[in-house]
Amino acid sequence: MVERNGLADASKLVRRATLANDPVLIRQIDDVLKQDGHAAAVDELLNRSIDNATIPFNWADEFSALRNYHSWWVDRILEGRNPVQEKMTLFFHSFLTSSRGSSGGKYGSIAQQMNLFRRHALGSFSDLLLDFVKDPLLMRFLNAQQNVAKRPNENLARELMELFTTGIGPYNETDIRNVALAISGWRLDNDIGRVYYDETKGSSESFSFLGETRVWNLDSVVRKLLDHPATADRITQMLWEDLVGEGSAPAGLGKGWHDRGFDNLWLVEQILKSQQFIDSNHYVRPRTGFEYFMNVQRVLGFPTDEDYRPRNLGHLPWDPPNVAGWPSGERWIDVGSILARSQVLQYDYKKVEGGTTAGAEEILDRCAIFEVSNDTLTAISEANNAVDVGDAGKAQLRWWIALSSPEAMLT
């Protein structure tokens, strides 16, 4: 492995903790890193005001508005006011899912949920979850508004436990039935997006849940699940794997997060400042589809309202493949996903600055590759040997190789 321009450590931090992976930000962080050390560099990244802007929408927006919401968010990510906030938005959405297909024709509900995630991304996970379970899009996605005491619908109860909090283990099928009853009665007027509780449709039977017997309701069930250690531990581990790429979160980290009211900013800070993060190798896990996409987006500059690329990569936000959202890990590297990623690189390179002229050094800088293997360097330089190809073609080939390299596929 070769380090370029002394930027390897700073680039690892920015690449893992942000979506845009901006070389300008990398240099900024590197200045602090070199001068004041790693912890100060993390502070530089995290100590920014929360971006309170929201996606503008009307509740009754039509399908065509989705591209505008997507475009708004991609532009925001590229702008980078609070890069970690955008990263954490995606993180929470990866397992707290809803689908754009569940809007019931009111596509503004998607923008509303996107705004919800951005609002709480660096706030409190407990606030996020308590709001999420009453979000209209989520309610439609998991049939919550059809869950009435006379005919309980178990969908939300099941996924609340399996996907949003503890994961499988602490509860059983009986708990799911009981919880479904306990949280029944929440209604949605989808014409206007009004969520309200109708006690005539709900239930107030007492039952035992996770060791406590009482009359349960939606809020108390959520709080009880949040209190269960498995919730904090599970989600902490997920974030650990995302940021550190390997290994287990230290014992007690989940509890620390729980005890601080699920302060997301604190949790991110602990992980990024940890020795394990500092020691982690550069390219330990595959980039997810959206991570890969955002880097290429930043480099090549596609029109931001074109959402077919992340969809083809299997990772268009708010368009999950199934209820569980998006998994992480090796799944992102296989013949099909590599093929799909190659497709994304097919573009008119005359529209890209240096697209038909740039040399290897400039390309690696622009792709924010500051730790690179000799094989990749060789592969890029061999573009010069391409037969029956002019200089413009060779430059484009260099771009393709750089963005197809392990350094581009992994993080």
């Binding site: 049939n143 059809q146 005919r151 309980p152 619908n153 178990e154 969908n155 099941r158 399996e162 499988i168 059983n172 099928e173 390219y283 330990v284 896990r285 595959p286 083809n312 299997g314 493949p321 199934n322 209820v323 569980a324 998994p327 090796e330 799944r331 590297i333 296989d334 013949v335 099909g336 996903s337 590599i338 093929l339 799909a340 190659s342 497709q343 097919q346 293997s373 094989d375 990749t376 060789t378 592969a379 890029i380 061999e382 573009a383 040997n385 391409a386 037969v387 029956d388 190809v389 073609g393 060779k394 484009q396 080939l397 393709w400 190789i401 197809s404 390299s405 392990p406 596929m409 992994l410």
Partner: protein
């Protein structure tokens, strides 16, 4: 009915086949009429009469009798024996994602419990295409009911959990481990038949079943992906060469391997994947029709894929079950019938089996306009199967104490049957018994 598998013979036939190009071989086979004449597969009923199951006794509403001897609809004389050579067989798995309701697919219109438990959702008897006086197919299976098929009843999971993901993980991992069922199968087939090329293919765009595949697996999410790969001009060859040079740890190797597999598949790709949007297969088959169109093209071009996965979502019908399920049945009918017609035209009917899968069933009683997750279900297989009813009829009068249809036959047995009896794979799901008589 299946010959004893002879690995040496299979290998020799395989090598013989490689001497001609695959495409020529297939076309030649179709031309010589090597497809066998009809055989009627009968089953002796308990009253001693021989019934020809898998035949459809006329149009919906004809539920007067079950001793008809009508042969399979359509061209009865084209009933196919399976190709003797395991190495030429192909398995197409269609995943019905979300948990397909068995009683809506193989409808127990002869059971009053069906109507008692589902006053709003049960399909009226006059809308059912009868198989016999007990069960029938939905009216939307107008085309498929005319083809050769088997229904497999009483399939279910043995897990306690009715979570989508537990069940999916089971079938994705073929009984355990992190490697998916299709991948395990593909790995074994690759070893058996010594192929370097494509073995497993998903045309569904996202296939956890293929996670962990070592060799020859490809996931496609549309016909356009194929077109871009077939270029051999300009910087494409240089690109394909460059990206196979990456070396490094396991993840990097995985990347390089993926690129190199893409390269080796390129040569076999079909030249033309223009989709006919006017055809019923696409117009009514929709996404599944599109997927199977690509699959048909990949098979016709002889790309070597032995296990092909497609997917149709929407089966998690917690609400609006009647209309949603009917739409899905129409899609399946149009897509699968169109696909089988393509296989017939290519002379491949004797070697392509289409099997439906789903992570679980749905509950016996209705719940409002929908159905909760359940257990026991019924699946179907099309192509060179022993036609008729297989498995164990699990009745809505015999629900378990959670209100679920029972598991009479574990799902893993169904998968074992497809892997072992149809494809000749030995090592996958070895502790499960096949469903005898299905293949």
């Amino acid at each position: 009915m299946t010959s004893q598998f002879d690995p040496e013979l299979a290998k020799k036939l395989k090598e013989d086949n490689k001497r001609a190009t695959r495409r020529k071989f297939l076309m030649g086979l179709a031309g010589t009429g090597a497809i066998s004449a009809a055989t009627v597969y009968g089953i002796t009923a308990s009253d001693g009469s021989t019934r020809s199951f898998g035949s459809i006794l006329g149009s919906p509403g004809n539920n007067t009798g079950s001793t008809g001897t009508t042969l399979l609809g359509g061209n009865a004389n084209a009933a196919q024996l399976p190709a003797a050579d395991y190495s030429d067989r192909i398995l197409v798995l269609i995943e019905l994602q979300g948990g397909n309701d068995g009683p809506s697919t193989v409808i127990p219109y002869g059971d009053s419990a069906y109507y008692d438990l589902r006053p709003n959702l049960a399909i009226p008897a006059e809308e059912v295409i009868p198989i016999d006086d007990q069960v029938g197919l939905p009216a939307q299976f107008a085309a498929l009911s005319q083809r050769r098929f088997a229904v497999v009843e009483g399939i279910g999971n043995t897990l306690d959990s009715l979570s989508h993901f537990d069940q999916q993980k089971l079938w994705h991992s073929g009984g355990g481990g992190r490697v998916g069922f299709v991948s395990q199968l593909g790995t074994e087939l690759a070893e058996k038949y010594g192929t370097d090329g494509l073995v497993t293919l998903s045309v569904a765009g996202y296939a956890p079943q293929l996670i962990g595949a070592d060799e020859g697996s490809l996931t496609l999410s549309g016909a356009n992906q194929l077109k871009a790969l077939t270029r051999n001009d300009w910087i494409y060859p240089g690109y394909r060469q460059a990206v196979t040079r990456f070396r490094g740890g396991p993840l990097t190797s995985r990347i390089a391997q993926s690129y190199s597999q893409i390269g080796s598949i390129v040569n076999d790709l079909p030249e033309d994947v223009e989709i006919d949007n006017e055809s019923r297969m696409i117009a009514e088959g929709r996404q599944l029709g599109n997927q199977l169109w690509v699959a048909a093209g990949m098979i016709e071009a002889g790309t070597g894929a032995r296990v092909i996965h497609a997917k149709i979502g929407g089966f998690d019908t917690h609400e609006a079950h009647v209309s949603r399920h009917a739409n899905l049945m129409t899609q399946i009918d149009a897509a699968v019938d169109g696909f089988l017609a393509r296989m017939e035209a290519a002379g491949l009917s004797d070697r392509v089996l289409v099997a439906l899968t789903s992570e679980f069933g749905r509950r016996g009683a209705e719940n409002g306009g929908g159905l909760d997750h359940g257990n026991g279900s019924t699946l179907m297989v099309f192509g060179p199967v022993n036609p008729g009813r297989h498995g164990v009829y699990n009745s809505l009068s015999n629900l378990d104490d959670r209100g679920n249809l029972r598991t009479e036959i574990p799902y893993s047995s169904y998968l074992r049957t497809l892997a072992h009896d149809w494809l000749g794979a030995e090592s996958i799901l070895p502790d499960d018994e096949s469903i005898t008589g299905l293949i």
